[in-house]
């Protein structure tokens, strides 16, 4: 299969006062055409920053890409000019940003906001863009008759569908969706995920789905990458990660969840908290919370090793 995108050893830092936040520390993964990868992890793990890195949108001057490559069909996006990137963004790669409720403009109609991107990024005339925008509205389950309404007339779930319509209007090859359903109620989330799945299958779009919800990942992803303190500590197919998690952190995440389909008397939390990203240990950043770590884990850099075909972990105790 053809690799659509390949991220290699991506490193991103933020200057924060006198300190340096090491937000992304050597992230590598690749994604084939038409597939969806789930980027999961807890608050501050570096999921959003990784996505911004791929889009070459890391906020300067505080943020800086310190290294790595983002190969999109073999071309490194990080070496492109901002002008070239503007063409790529919205047209071939588009992103749904975290906190989406603020990304619609209150003074334009929802229909025009979908049409605008089409007009900008494709050769469509204004009229053609309007027709296409109406078609996109229907696809995400909003009657085209509501084209001329404003965002405030829409509920949260409908606004989110408009945002998805904008992101998909130009038929991008890659969609990066950062927590697209986190703010929605479960019944609405189920509707939106169902719709995203249908559109993805129809358009053969590849997706990077960012979420902290392991349930959502199971719904829509083929592959999973688990992030912790700016690194992918485990990755593999959905089945590998869910049926045979090997990194102690991944195991811990699954164990700490209350289960809907079985009874648990007592939850098993992961002790402690994520290390300070301005002061990461030399070795494994999970060591201080890990039930199987010993002294050497703290000092030795953990390399990503393949433990079965396509299943990688960063843990010397388990590989």
């Amino acid at each position: 299969m053809e690799k659509l995108i390949e991220v290699k050893d991506l490193r991103i830092e933020f200057a924060s006062g006198k300190k340096i936040v090491k937000a992304v520390n050597g992230v590598s993964f690749s994604l084939e055409k038409g597939k969806t990868i789930g980027l999961v992890g807890e608050t501050g793990a570096g999921k959003t920053t990784t996505a911004l890195g791929i889009m070459n949108l890391v906020p300067a001057p505080a943020g800086r890409i310190r290294g790595g490559e983002v190969l999109f069909k073999g071309e490194d996006l990080l070496t492109k000019t901002q002008q070239e990137m503007r063409q790529t963004r919205g047209n071939r790669i588009s992103m749904i940003f975290q906190d989406p409720m603020t990304s619609l403009n209150p003074v334009f109609t929802v229909g025009d906001q979908i049409a605008e991107g089409l007009h900008l990024h494709t050769k469509l005339s204004a009229l053609e863009a309007t027709v296409k925008a109406q078609d996109m509205m229907e696809r995400v389950g909003i009657p085209a008759a509501r084209y001329n309404e404003y965002p405030h007339q829409f509920s949260g779930g409908m606004k989110q569908r408009v945002i998805i319509a904008i992101a998909l209007a130009c038929s991008p090859e890659l969609l990066i969706a950062d927590e697209p359903t986190t703010a929605l109620d479960v019944t609405i989330q189920a509707q939106v995920l169902d719709m995203m799945r249908n559109i993805r299958n129809k358009l053969n779009t590849s997706m990077i789905m960012i979420t902290h919800d392991l349930g959502v990942v199971k719904e829509i992803c083929d592959q999973v990458a688990v992030m912790y303190a700016g690194q992918i500590i485990e990755s593999g197919s959905l089945k590998q990660i869910y049926k045979n998690p090997q990194h102690p952190y991944t195991e811990g995440l699954f164990k700490s969840l209350p289960k809907i389909n079985e009874n648990t008397e007592r939850l098993i939390p992961i002790k402690g908290i994520m290390p300070d990203p301005t002061n990461l240990p030399e070795g494994c950043s999970f060591a201080s919370r890990c039930p199987i770590a010993d002294k050497s884990c703290v000092n030795i850099r953990q390399l990503s090793k393949e433990i079965e075909k396509g299943h990688f972990i960063r843990c010397m105790k388990r590989s």
């Binding site: 779930g157 409908m158 479960v186 919800d213 349930g215 959502v216 700490s256 209350p258 007592r266």
Partner: protein, 320 residues
């Protein structure tokens, strides 16, 4: 087991420019001592308003509230002050609910000062140390400020503060919703331990169904200000009776590779709570709705041993 809290036909309406907003509309429940009643439902269905009104943080529009068998619906200021000692609340966002200019110790002992519980400064200090260790906060953090701490520790402060006056009843309004799962599990365990040790009674508000299942003895499902189902936790999950509950449970994404679930996809979204029509409030989204559902409000009926639901076709609908 004795009943600690009882709420009868509680209503809380808000005046808005478009008419009366029925945030809580005729809600009744009772909670036995040392048990947890979970309240679930979608955003805006009235969970927080219910909690706040039951606690007298909001004045009720109608209905009755009983605490330890006494009618406390219309208490005067002095009685309310006494009542407050026994009823506390923990909020979702520990950050915005904690005074940023106070250090951890001062936040925790503030209620003790207000109620003049401790006779000396030394006693206050001892109490602070005791409370901090109860909730698993290291005493070296006593002089830290909330912004210096992570979400899990901030929520521990919220818990410690709620415990300060040794209350009997605590309303927990989304106490773990802002936390990561590994930290959420720490806090849920803490709350369960405290409940056992101190004989606490909880009203636990959340939109997370896995959490509510884990923590509750009984569950109240709300929809647009109304209770649509009220049952023991096992019964609700084993045999949800209301079509909305059925859809809600089927929509939970379960992180288990082998779990196959039948999904009931609802159309449309929650309607407006302002001046609702006299009909079933779920009818517009209900796949099983019939004519009567749009004309008449369903009454709450008991379908078994304390398994109540408000649906014209209770027991006849199974969307799953």
């Amino acid at each position: 087991m004795q009943e600690l809290v009882r709420v009868e036909n509680l209503k809380k309406y808000f005046k808005t420019p478009l008419g009366m907003l029925h945030a809580v509309d005729d809600v009744s429940f009772s909670i036995k001592q040392n048990t947890t009643l979970g309240v679930v439902g979608e955003s805006g269905c009235g969970k927080s308003t219910l909690g706040r009104t039951a606690l007298h943080l909001l004045k009720s529009t109608d209905g009755k509230i009983f605490f330890e068998g006494k009618d406390v619906t219309n208490v005067n200021k002095r009685q309310l002050r006494q009542l407050r000692r026994n009823m506390q609340i923990i909020f979702q966002d520990p950050f915005s609910s904690l005074n940023p200019r106070m250090c951890v110790k001062d936040i925790i002992i503030e209620p003790l000062k207000i109620y003049k519980v401790c006779k000396s400064k030394g006693e206050l200090e001892d109490k602070a140390v005791e409370l901090m260790s109860t909730v698993g906060l290291s005493t070296r953090l006593a002089l830290s400020y909330p912004h210096e701490l992570d979400g899990g520790r901030r929520q521990r402060i919220g818990v410690a503060r709620a415990l300060a006056l040794n209350p009997k009843f605590i309303i927990c309004d989304e106490p773990v919703s802002a936390l990561d799962v590994s930290i959420q599990a720490q806090i849920l365990n803490l709350m369960q331990d405290l409940q056992k040790e101190r004989d606490l009674t909880y009203l636990f508000i959340t939109h997370n169904l896995s959490v509510v299942k884990h923590i509750s003895d009984e569950i109240l499902v709300m929809y647009l200000g109304k209770v649509i189902e009220y049952a023991k936790t096992e019964d609700l999950f084993a045999r949800p009776l209301h079509p909305y509950t059925q859809a809600l449970l089927s929509a939970i994404p379960v992180p288990d590779y082998d779990y196959v679930q039948k999904r009931v996809l609802l159309k449309g979204e929650i309607s407006s709570p302002i001046e609702p029509q006299k009909c079933c409030r779920f009818a517009g989204r209900c796949p099983a709705a019939q004519e009567i559902c749009f004309k008449q409000e369903p009454k709450m009926v008991d379908m078994g041993i304390r398994h109540l639901t408000a649906c014209h076709f209770a027991g006849q609908v199974n969307l799953l």
